[in-house]
């Protein structure tokens, strides 16, 4: 019993010291940023990511530091990372928009159909596990309605229960699907940002391939497939080509 208390006390102490160290690092980075040493601040923030973990705000700060240091590609990458974790992060959206004005490529994105856009923003409204919880709760209600329909006494309520069970079952599937889509977005690192000044997109995963087009730092691409050192990408306007994997960084 006594040893347990001591053990928990030690654990608490360790977690506490860890937390203070982390906070110290964060304040150090904040101060560097305030003193306009943006490169240094970005370095410390990156260090925190590898040592302690991530948060949307942290990625946002890194993005800011890189933006101020003039590294547009890296700043866009980090804003996108912040938005991947928290899609409705207003500040990150605003800053990303500003950073995107500084990139060279002007790829006209085919805007999605408005219903798809609505659904997309609806999906982004909630977390994966929140969607999951809703889905399970709705499913439980579906089952309750179903049981009432079978064993209930009152004819009118039974009729309601019957239709209700149907609607709730559909809702269960929809919310579940939303959760799965959101999870896919969160986990699938199939988007990347171009990191080097200019990249020539080849027709094949080979240096001797035909040059198709050129992309510049900061442009977002979708990863289609990979082969050795090469990655096949799709650009917003539908162009497909290969580039060397080292020239991009996944979001």
């Amino acid at each position: 019993m006594k040893s347990k208390i001591i053990l928990s006390a030690i654990l608490l102490f360790f977690s506490f010291t860890c937390l203070t160290a982390q906070n110290e690092e964060l304040t150090k980075a904040h101060n560097l940023y305030k003193k306009a040493d943006y490169q240094g601040a970005a370095q410390v923030y990156e260090d925190i990511v590898t040592r302690y973990g991530v948060a949307p705000e942290l990625y946002y700060n890194i993005g800011n530091a890189y933006y101020k240091a003039g590294e547009v590609g890296r700043s866009i990458l980090n804003y996108e990372r912040a938005l991947r974790l928290s899609p409705n992060y207003e500040d990150a959206k605003v800053n990303l928009e500003l950073a995107q004005t500084k990139i060279v490529d002007n790829i006209v994105q085919i805007p999605p159909f408005f219903i798809q856009r609505w659904i997309d923003s609806l999906i982004k409204l909630l977390d994966v596990d929140l969607w999951y919880t809703i889905s399970v709760v709705v499913f439980v209600f579906t089952m309750l309605c179903f049981l009432y329909f079978i064993f209930g006494n009152n004819l009118i309520i039974r009729r309601f229960a019957f239709y209700g069970a149907f609607i709730l079952l559909i809702l269960t599937f929809v919310t579940g699907a939303f959760g799965l889509i959101r999870r896919n977005e969160l986990q699938n690192h199939n988007q990347a940002i171009i990191m080097t000044g200019t990249v020539v997109i080849k027709s094949s995963p080979d240096k001797s391939g035909t040059d198709l087009f050129q992309l510049h730092e900061g442009t977002k691409v979708n990863i289609k497939s990979k082969l050795d050192e090469w990655t096949e990408i799709v650009v917003g306007n539908g162009n497909i080509g290969w580039l060397e994997s080292k020239t991009i960084e996944k979001i």
Partner: protein
């Protein structure tokens, strides 16, 4: 006659006045380089009539002749104004006795009772030619002509002042003609394109003077043909290509048969020769990497001063901020410093006045930038400092110059008041002006950091969230169904059984009806009805009477007609058994009636 004298007097007076304008100048002149044991002339010139010209001792020089005094005077009438000038020169012919650099101290002269001193001179004495044993100038030139036009006698050297410079650091390239011959003319035919440099030619004086220079033991006559300042625009090894000049050389005709006139009239021909000057390579160092943000390539040595025309001003009055950048370097690269004037100031394009001089040391001078602005509203404002950055060549470091921050107090202007009075408190509304665009600031709150974890949904365990309710509901379903079977009461079962039994009975009756067995039929119908009622009302058959059946049924709120129908059926059956003349028709009716009544009762009972 009288008028003439007056005119003459006026005329004389004018000349006197004009003379009095000009200050007295007393100058000494001599070639800057001379050759040992070769005579040269030293001339003192004064632009007035003087007396008592005294020179100090010419140490290291031997006076061969002089001083010879010569006088020249001129009158000039320009636009009715007359000016006269007198020039008196004293010429000495000297000869150096030693090699080295010597000074000739200043001489003095008295003009109108005042003593004037001449400038001192520095003369470099070169050793005599190696091969030549002190010949006179003319002999020397002849012997040189005899040697022919070789590259040794005439050549052009390109001299580069520095071979290792920073980017934008000026270097001077001088093309100098060295000749032992009589070069009449020299023009540049093809100059290098100075690739990688920005060039700035230096204007040379029109009348070029030969000076002597000892080179490889010979005294060459030298003259600078072309000088250019170069500003390297890129780092690396930059090459200056070879240049080609066209020289016209006067050569004495050497005729086999010498006529008598040869001695009196030398005959010469002009020979054209292309002379190629050497090229050069300059290594250019890049500027250090830690460039300030507003550095735009200015290299040199600068200073910055600024002044504000006034620090207290009324609104709508113009204020001028003057920024003066002076120094040397590639001044042309300097851009107007960007000053962010407070918002609400009307700022005009700055007026720039460049005053640059190009010399062999580079461009130097001043750049005056005047910013004019008009504050439109009253208040205390700060004019931020203007900044320029440059690379200091001497210190090899970037430097940033700043003007001070000026505080400007703007009082309410008269115009502003007047309008507010006239339009009774009307204030011109201004939209919220967006002054700049910048990213939002970082989040400095405490952050909850966590390693990126996969969401729970999607893991195998998460599917239990659906599976568990499903299983529970299936179990519930099964349990409920069993319960229903168990709890459905015996009455209900018997009710159903009763119905079935009645129908069975009635089926038998129907069979008997078809066979025409009258007695058995009625008995069967009666039994069926009795048994049905007994089961339905849970009363044993033995204790059933018509009375208690009707009361029982009434208590269960069965309609009276139906009770009557039952009683009727029972009565009919009792009578028919003993009544002989009941036909097939009646039996059929009874059968129908009993089935109808039982099913009706069944319905009403179930509803209850």
């Amino acid at each position: 006659m009288k008028i003439k004298i007056v005119l003459l007097n006026v005329f004389l007076l004018l000349t006197v006045l004009a003379r009095a304008d000009e200050p007295v100048r007393f100058t000494a002149s001599a070639p800057s380089t001379v050759i040992l044991d070769r005579p040269f002339q030293l001339v003192y010139t004064v632009n007035a009539t003087g007396k008592d010209m005294r020179t100090s001792d010419f140490n290291n020089f031997e006076v061969l002749a002089g001083p010879f005094e010569s006088r020249s005077s001129s009158y000039q009438i320009v636009n009715g104004k007359t000016s006269s000038s007198v020039s008196v020169s004293y010429t000495y012919t000297l000869q150096a006795t030693k090699t080295g650099t010597f000074t000739i101290p200043s001489a003095s002269i008295v003009v109108d009772g005042k003593k004037y001193n001449s400038n001192g001179l520095s003369i470099k004495v070169l050793p005599a030619d190696d091969n030549a044993t002190s010949k006179s100038g003319k002999e020397e030139s002849r012997s040189a002509a005899g040697q022919g036009i070789s590259g040794e006698n005439v050549f052009i050297k390109a001299q580069v002042s520095k071979t290792s410079v920073y980017e934008q650091e000026p270097l001077l390239v001088t093309y100098k003609l060295y000749t032992l011959l009589d070069v009449v003319q020299c023009t540049n035919r093809k100059m290098p394109d100075f690739k990688g440099f920005m060039k700035n030619e230096i204007e040379l004086s029109q009348n070029k003077q030969f000076s002597y220079e000892n080179f490889n033991g010979k005294n060459y006559g030298t003259v600078v043909l072309y000088q250019v300042l170069l500003y390297p625009q890129q780092a690396g090894e930059l090459k200056i290509d070879k240049a080609v000049f066209d020289a016209v050389i006067r050569v004495e005709n050497r005729q086999q048969v010498r006529s008598i006139f040869d001695d009196f009239f030398d005959s010469y021909t002009n020979v054209q020769k292309a002379i190629t000057a050497n090229g050069a390579v300059v290594s250019v160092k890049p500027l250090p990497g830690n460039k300030p943000a507003n550095f735009n390539g200015t290299v040199g040595n600068l200073s910055l001063t600024s002044s504000l025309s006034t620090e207290n001003v009324k609104a709508n009055d113009a204020v001028t901020l003057k920024v003066v950048i002076s120094g040397s370097g590639n001044m042309k690269m300097i851009q107007n410093p960007d000053i962010k004037f407070p918002d609400g100031f009307e700022v005009y394009d700055p007026k720039v006045n460049n005053n640059f001089k190009t010399s062999t040391n580079g461009i130097s001078g001043t750049k005056i930038i005047e910013y004019m602005f008009i504050p439109r509203h009253g208040g205390d404002f700060q004019i931020p400092s203007a900044e320029i950055s440059y690379f200091d060549i001497k210190d090899r470091a970037y430097k940033t110059l700043r003007t001070p921050v000026y505080n400007l107090k703007v009082a309410k202007g008269t115009g502003e008041n007047a309008t507010s009075v006239v339009s009774s408190g009307y204030v011109a509304k201004e939209d919220l002006k967006k002054l700049g665009n910048d990213i939002r600031f970082i989040v400095t709150d405490k952050l909850e950091l966590q390693k990126e974890v996969d969401p729970f949904f999607g893991s195998p365990l998460s599917w239990l969230g659906y599976l568990i309710p499903l299983i529970i509901s299936i179990v519930l379903f099964l349990v409920f169904r069993k319960n229903v079977v168990e709890s459905s009461n015996l009455d209900f079962v018997r009710n159903k059984k009763a119905n079935k039994a009645a129908q069975k009975r009635l089926k038998l009756a129907a069979k008997l009806l078809n066979e025409g067995k009258k007695d058995l039929f009625y008995e069967e119908v009666m039994k069926a009805v009795w048994n049905y009622l007994s089961d339905k009302l849970t009363i044993p058959v033995a204790s059933l009477t018509k009375e208690n059946v009707s009361t029982e049924l009434e208590s269960r709120s069965v309609e009276k007609e139906m009770i009557a129908a039952f009683i009727d059926i029972l009565n009919t059956c009792e009578y028919a058994r003993f009544a002989p003349n009941s036909g097939q028709q009646e039996m059929g009716n009874l059968y129908e009636m009993s089935i109808d009544t039982i099913s009706k009762l069944e319905n009403t009972m179930r509803k209850v």
